[in-house]
């Protein structure tokens, strides 16, 4: 039997990207996530931010929460999104708006393998750092660009973010309650598609370089990635002239399918009946075998979908979502409880596979000793990548990078620090949110919060003999 990941005894092998240096000049979700996973896989990833231009995940709408919802001395180092998406990286704070800052960047490019950025296309061009020029600086440097629309085409200069693109790339039009408006679902959908696209581009470009000794530029535009993922709707239009429909949680082919209310607060279980066998099993499981003979075909079930939904709900609402799921799965029927943010941490499958990994924090960060974060959705039998460092403190590796990576002498380093081309001090205008968790619940931004979450997660520092 194959042995995966954590249980793998053969973890002494070096990680595959060891020895590769990546400059990560990206903000928000997509580029940083790609960089984080490259770091998990062993690459040295150097994150570049500007003294007055901090990653947007260090504060504001997309930053998640600060640990314990407390700002502390350095709120910009405490946010959840920033740490999750920048784990394992080194931080260099560099003022790229000044020519002296760009000189440092060029020096770094000379000794790096990959440069990833998500600037709007005019920025790097304006600095004379477009791909033809990068090749002159370092003929082996791979360029990955990630923007809303890509570097070519009529929309290339439009600002964009996944939230607004979810509508433009067509996903909102096919998502929504039946008869209702187009809807967004989840959060920042296409960012994650873009993260994977950037990673795939990086791996392909590395291989291309190894095989043919030539560097390439991978240009990722998030818009087209999102459009790809409604492929069958696009083809139904181009082949058949059929517009899309919003069918909520129902299936375009199977019936019944839906999300059914269970006992408990906001508790739901999804069920999907793929064929007549599933249907027969379901009617027995919910104690309504007569329905199997009343609606023997999928056509009949689709016509009576509302009535069937009521029958299923009568059964589900009398039991908890987990019991409903387990009972139906035991009968061979696809069923899944709607897990929330807390459930994700406790779900036996996710736990067993180790999707969430403990991110360790040193005591000086005042973040507690460790907090679980999303790792990677793959298990490799031959290697064990892992999350082993938090997101770096702002400018944490400035000196190390200047001295060791770039070979600058003390005079040059002092000069750059003096001019605040390189700094550890953020020129930060944003005031951290002062909204309490209770108020967030009141205004509808949170469903609830658990005061005892650390005990529930087993990360209470008291519980492992490491009192604060």
């Amino acid at each position: 039997m194959t042995v995966f990941g954590r249980e793998n005894l053969n973890t002494q092998k070096p990680l595959p990207l060891k020895g590769l240096r990546v400059i990560d000049s990206t903000y928000m979700f997509a580029g940083p996530y790609a960089g984080a996973i490259l770091a998990d896989l062993g690459a040295e990833v150097i994150k570049i931010e500007g003294p007055a231009r901090l990653d947007f995940t260090r504060g504001g709408a997309f930053s998640g929460l600060m640990a314990e919802n407390e700002a502390g001395k350095d709120p910009w180092n405490r946010t959840s999104t920033y740490n999750l998406l920048n784990r394992g990286k080194k931080s260099l704070v560099l003022d790229l708006s000044k020519p002296e800052g760009r000189e440092v960047l060029v020096d770094l490019m000379k000794v790096s393998d990959i440069f990833i950025d998500n600037f709007t296309p005019r920025v790097m061009r304006g600095w004379g750092l477009d791909f033809p020029n990068l090749k002159k600086i370092n003929s082996r440097l791979i360029l990955i660009t990630n923007t809303g629309y890509g570097h070519t085409g009529p929309y290339s200069a439009y600002p964009a973010q996944a939230t607004t693109q979810e509508a433009t790339h067509g996903l909102a039009a096919v998502t929504g309650y039946p008869g209702g408006e187009p809807s967004k679902a989840g959060q920042s959908y296409v960012d994650f598609i873009a993260a994977w696209a950037c990673m795939m581009g990086a791996m392909l470009a590395l291989r291309y370089r190894d095989r043919f000794d030539r560097s390439t530029w991978v240009d990722v535009g998030m818009y087209q990635l999102g459009c790809f993922n409604i492929g069958e709707y696009l083809m139904n239009w181009t082949a058949n002239g059929e517009p899309s429909q919003r069918i909520g949680n129902r299936h375009r082919q199977f019936a019944p399918q839906g999300t059914y209310r269970c006992a408990g607060d906001d508790a739901w279980c999804t069920v999907s009946v793929r064929d007549d066998d599933d249907w027969a099993a379901l009617t027995v499981a919910i104690g309504r075998p007569n329905l199997a003979t009343a609606y023997p075909t999928v056509e009949a079930r689709r016509t009576a979908h509302d009535e069937i939904d009521r029958a299923i709900t009568e059964w589900t609402k009398a039991r908890g979502k987990i019991e409903a799921m387990e009972t139906l799965q035991a009968a061979g029927i696809p069923a899944g409880a709607v897990l929330d943010g807390r459930d994700l941490h406790l779900d036996p499958q996710i736990r067993s596979r180790g999707l969430l990994e403990d991110m360790p924090f040193p005591p000086e960060r005042a973040m507690g000793s460790r907090r679980p974060v999303i790792g990677r959705p793959w298990k490799f039998s031959g290697m064990a990548p892992k999350v082993d460092q938090p997101g770096p403190v702002f400018g944490q590796h400035n000196t190390e990078i200047m001295r060791e990576t770039l070979g600058y002498d003390a005079v040059r380093i002092a000069e750059l620090e003096e001019q605040e081309i390189v700094t550890t001090r953020p020129r930060w205008k944003r005031t951290p949110s002062e909204m309490s968790l209770d108020e967030r619940v009141r205004v509808g931004r949170l469903a609830y919060w658990d005061r005892d979450y650390k005990a529930r997660l087993g990360i209470d520092d008291m519980s492992d003999g490491d009192p604060q």
Binding site: E166, G231, M235, L344, V373
Partner: protein, 392 residues
């Protein structure tokens, strides 16, 4: 043995690789297709009754049933296809010959099924230590749910994403279509690319286990650490006072806007052209959340007589705002920007020419190349399969 690859793929990024695609549905086949797009020599193996996706709607109208599924057409371009009944001893023998010659096998069987057929990873590895095996299933090869029944909505529910999707006053909502499958395909192709790169260094293959539940859960980078940072749990949006960051109606359709990008709050207030929005209470995120009802009302009144396209262009070009519009498939099919990006290809299928999305991203060299339409059922049997035992 694999047939000779087209000579012009010698210089493709993955042109030296032979891939056997045993998978069915969307996630596995699309993963194999992505590798084929970058030049790999991909053979799709189907059971005699064909990939389940051949029976998935939507269908191209007026086309022979086996070849009509648009999902199948999309997921299987750039492959050749054979049928092998690997429920029989002869079929298994034929498959082993192909696997021994392959660099990568992509499969989506029920966990444990390959081992029952005598084709478990350990056996395959003994034949071919360089082999990379990619398994893509709803819950992965391990864990208490490994043998459970998966389906798109089930994966979606168990990944956590539905709990934050839809309205707080209604049931949790899934994305339209088969997003876990598309996400799984690309994510698995990333893992495959990592394994290929690793094998180039070490000469050793490995088994990659992809769980679609893990894939979709991996997208919850705000929601998940809410809990591990502060014990907080996000819910679904309330019906009132939460349109900000959601889809809102205008004169002829729907739009969505966000703060950020190049626009300051006063730029946004100027774009909507409402005096009330210039008030200081809207300038901060906390303020906008506290006065969300007023914010929604102002924005709705300001946009009710404006069209989607005008709003999109004005906001994006003149105000540097983050702005989207709810495009329908017909809008996307006609989009000039996508044409300029070489996004679409037209495949000569047995159902006639079909225009389909193709290019995920551009590369100056070594990028994706469209080669051929999805294979008809058993199209290349004569070319690829000599009788079992007659091969070296």
């Amino acid at each position: 043995m694999f047939p000779q690859h087209d000579a012009d793929f010698a210089l493709a990024t993955l042109g030296d690789l032979k891939i056997l695609d045993l998978s069915e549905g969307l996630a596995g086949p699309l993963c194999a297709r992505f590798l084929g797009d970058f030049g790999a020599n991909v053979i799709k193996v189907e059971l005699p009754e064909g990939d389940a996706a051949r029976r998935w709607e939507p269908f191209a109208k007026g086309v022979d049933a086996q070849e009509a599924s648009l999902i199948f057409q999309l997921a299987n371009v750039n492959k050749r296809g054979v049928t092998v009944d690997y429920r029989t001893a002869d079929g298994i023998a034929a498959l082993r010959v192909l696997i021994a010659d392959a660099d990568i096998v992509v499969e989506s069987c029920k966990p444990g099924m390959l081992a029952e057929l005598g084709l478990g990873y350990d056996v395959l590895r003994a034949d071919n230590p360089r082999l990379i095996l990619i398994s893509i299933t709803p819950f992965g090869q391990t864990g208490p749910y490994r043998d459970w029944q998966g389906e798109e909505i089930v994966t979606y529910a168990l990944s956590g994403i539905m709990s934050i999707s839809g309205l707080s006053t209604a049931e949790p909502l899934k994305h339209g279509g088969m997003q876990s499958q598309y996400e799984g395909a690309l994510s698995a192709a990333v893992a495959a690319s990592v394994a290929i790169f690793t094998r180039d260094l070490t000469g050793e293959g490995q088994h990659i286990d992809v769980s679609l539940q893990d894939v979709v859960a991996s997208t919850l980078v705000i929601q998940q650490p809410f809990y591990s940072w502060a014990g907080a749990v996000q819910g679904r949006r309330q019906p009132d006072g939460s349109a900000y960051g959601q889809v809102q109606p205008c004169k002829d359709g729907y739009f969505i806007w966000q703060t950020g990008g190049g626009a300051e709050w006063q730029d946004i207030a100027a774009f909507f052209d409402r005096e009330e929005l210039k008030e200081a209470r809207f300038e901060t995120l906390d303020g906008r959340q506290r006065h969300a009802g007023d914010l929604d009302r102002n924005v709705l009144e300001a946009t009710q007589d404006r069209t989607m396209l005008e709003l999109f262009r004005t906001a994006s070009e003149d105000y540097r705002m983050l702005f989207g519009i709810a495009q329908e498939p017909k809008d996307i099919a006609a989009c000039e920007h996508l044409r300029a990006r070489d996004f679409f290809e037209t495949a000569e299928t047995s159902a006639g020419p079909q225009t389909m999305p193709f290019r995920l991203f551009s590369m100056t060299e070594g990028g994706a190349v469209f080669r051929c339409a999805a294979p008809r059922l058993g199209e290349h049997n004569d070319l690829l399969l000599a009788p079992a035992g007659s091969q070296q």
